[in-house]
């Protein structure tokens, strides 16, 4: 109870409330603009949060992520261009509804079931994370080593396209993390005498580069795409939503469950949750034939799923320090910057901060309903902001943001290099998310490996000796074995 009061006190600050409202609007705006993803919104915000106290910083991230993931539905329904990859699964369906004159029903379902999914996901987060943290308290470097391996593997497993290329992307990220002095031997690796390189590659400029700069390059290198006529949503948004809640209880419950679970898996985020939920809703539907023609059922399930996964992603991030997706990869970076090392101890040492974050999750998902209504009404104007005006301003923001982290132009150069790299990687079928996962988890992997090696005195057996470590180790090796087996069978 004391913790709850302390948490509420942290939040009942006009500054924090102002930030929650401002970041809601920012998240809705970024999510509603087709090219800008939620991960990009968060990476743009990190330099800003750098200068805030922990609670406002995390509140800003939570709110922005939740709002951006919902707002991605808006251009999906009105333009057939998903605002974020998380809305891609049902953009066709929503657009088909819009063409039938049901834009209000589609977008209303987007808001209502996003909020429901988000709240269910948060309830699971609030109940399961502290319990898992109890277990994780007993973890030693052996368990963490395997957990990181498993997280990295999931990141590769889930990437679409060539798995070899996903592995290479991951290895590259791990490699980038080895640059500098931050290693168990404190040896200035690959620094070549440079002080800047000796300090290592900062994760934030690298991420801003790979997500934001690469995206800017993609936009300016495309001939101005023909913008289809924008449908408005002028009718009442919430009419008929209560009926949907009563009609499809199984769908939104299942969607929320899938979303939370997929979110909690390291490496898998909202977009995969939405695809899986859309698939399951079609599979179990009594009206399969209506899917694709503008049928709201799939939107109910996958709209709930992608927002549930926003909360689910935080479970491994808070408990183990292993990101659930690229957004929480950034969150973990922010937690370290704030001196709040993620891991089970955070629940013991800073329970009021964790509780405050949980409360912000509820607030953000409740605020989503009125703010989402506002965004839908304003969407026609948001979608008309021309990209040639938007992109240069975003670029300047990235430059200053990267600069602000270390106060040196070196960070801007890092951002530039990773931006070019990210652009060419995507052009050639290399997913960038595993590279980010590698940069974030690289030091954790290496440190836990060396700590374990020193404890085990160079032997392999102790890696499997403790029961949980053994189970995790066997699971990791089994997944690797399966991946190699299927790769070989596909080839044969």
């Amino acid at each position: 109870m004391d913790v709850l009061l302390a948490a509420l006190k942290l939040l009942a600050d006009p500054y924090v409330i102002f930030l929650i409202i401002a970041s809601s609007l920012f998240g809705l705006f970024v999510g509603a603009i087709p090219v800008l993803t939620a991960a990009m919104a968060i990476s743009l915000l990190v330099p800003v949060t750098f200068f805030m106290a922990p609670v406002p910083a995390l509140a800003v991230i939570v709110t922005t992520a939740a709002m951006a993931i919902f707002a991605g539905d808006i251009p999906g329904a009105l333009l057939r261009i998903p605002g974020t990859p998380a809305s891609a699964a049902y953009a066709d369906e929503a657009y088909a509804m819009t063409k039938k004159g049901q834009a209000e029903l589609a977008l209303g379902a987007g808001v209502v079931f996003s909020a429901i999914g988000g709240i269910i996901g948060t309830i699971v987060l609030v109940t399961s994370a502290p319990a898992l943290a109890e277990v994780a308290l007993k973890f030693s470097s052996f368990e963490y080593f395997w957990l990181v391996c498993l997280g990295l593997t999931c990141g590769v497993f889930i990437a679409r396209g060539s798995q070899t290329k996903a592995v290479m992307s991951l290895l590259f990220g791990l490699f980038a993390a080895t640059i500098g002095m931050e290693n168990p031997a404190a040896y200035p690796r690959l620094a070549f005498g440079s002080v800047d390189l000796g300090a290592g590659i900062d994760m934030i400029p690298a991420m801003v580069g790979m997500f934001a700069i690469a995206e800017i390059l993609r936009v300016v290198s495309q001939a101005s795409v023909h913008v289809p006529p924008i449908y408005g949503a002028s009718g009442p948004i919430f009419a008929g939503q209560w009926g949907l809640i009563k009609r499809y209880p199984k769908q939104w419950l299942r969607g929320s469950a899938i979303g939370t679970l997929v979110g909690a898996l390291p490496g898998a985020g909202c977009d995969i949750a939405a695809w899986m939920a859309y698939g399951s809703s079609k599979r179990f539907s009594k009206e399969k034939e209506k899917f694709g023609t503008g049928h709201v059922e799939g939107i109910v399930e996958s709209g709930a799923a992608n927002n549930a996964s926003v909360s689910g992603d935080w479970i491994p991030a808070l408990v183990f320090g292993i990101p659930g997706d690229s957004i929480t990869a950034i969150v973990i970076g922010v937690l370290y910057l704030k001196g709040l090392n993620p891991g089970p101890m955070i629940f013991q040492n800073q329970p009021e901060i964790v509780t405050a974050v949980f409360i912000v999750f509820f607030i953000a998902n409740i605020l989503m309903v009125p703010f989402g209504w506002l965004a839908i009404k304003a969407s026609v104007h948001i979608l008309r902001v021309p990209r040639p005006v938007l992109m240069p301003v975003i670029m300047m923001f990235c430059i200053v943001g990267a600069f602000a982290i270390t106060n040196s132009a070196f960070a801007v150069a890092v951002m530039l290099v990773f931006g070019v790299l990210g652009f060419f990687m995507e052009e050639n079928g290399f997913p960038v998310a595993p590279a980010i996962l590698g940069i974030v988890l690289g030091p954790m992997l290496e440190n836990n490996f060396f700590n374990s090696m020193i404890k085990a005195d160079g032997a392999v057996w102790p890696f499997f000796e403790r029961p949980i470590a053994g189970a995790l180790g066997v699971a990791t090796l089994a997944v690797w074995g399966a991946m190699i087996y299927f790769a070989l069978r596909r080839r044969a």
């Binding site: 168990p184 300016v220 495309q222 132009a409 090696m453």
Partner: protein, 159 residues
């Protein structure tokens, strides 16, 4: 720009081997068999191995379909679009090199105007938005977040 998997793979093999070679030169930790070199060695070897797989796949594809080594994407054939790409990269580089000397405010306005004009935003609108956006970013970062942005030419004028 789609580069053939053959070339990407071969380049990755070279890069991986270079990392591997570098890792070998690092000393082990005192009292341990391994040191700072172990991870670069493992990563380099893994990267080279995956690179070889990708190269092999690229080799087969080329044998079957005679795909070109470097396939230009639509944008790479269009001078204007390639130019856009280079202008963005060039302007960021300009910021890296000259921000200290010229200062954030003048440089940001200049970079924004240059990019707006390149992307065919009308001139008057370009100038107005460039000044407004710079002012907004300046206030947000320098005043609100207290980041020391480089002053450059405006040293002593803006504080």
């Amino acid at each position: 720009m789609k580069v053939s998997d053959l070339l990407v793979g071969l380049a990755s093999v070279v890069f991986g081997l270079a990392i591997l070679g570098y890792g070998v030169t690092l000393p082990p930790m005192p009292g341990q068999r391994y040191g700072a070199g172990l991870f670069p060695m493992l990563l380099g070897a893994g990267f080279a191995f995956c690179g070889a797989l990708v190269a092999r796949k690229g080799w087969r594809e080329r044998r079957e379909s005679r795909a070109p080594l470097v396939a230009l994407a639509d944008w790479a054939r269009d001078r204007y679009l390639v130019g856009n790409l280079l202008v963005v990269l060039g302007l960021i580089l300009v910021y890296v090199l000259f921000s200290e000397r010229i200062g954030f405010i003048p440089l940001s306005i200049a970079i924004l105007i240059a990019l707006f004009l390149r992307l065919r935003v009308p001139p008057v609108r370009s100038v107005v938005i460039a000044v407004a956006a710079t002012a907004l970013i300046y206030v947000a970062f320098a005043r609100f977040l207290r980041v020391t942005l480089p002053r450059g030419l405006l040293e002593g004028i803006v504080w």
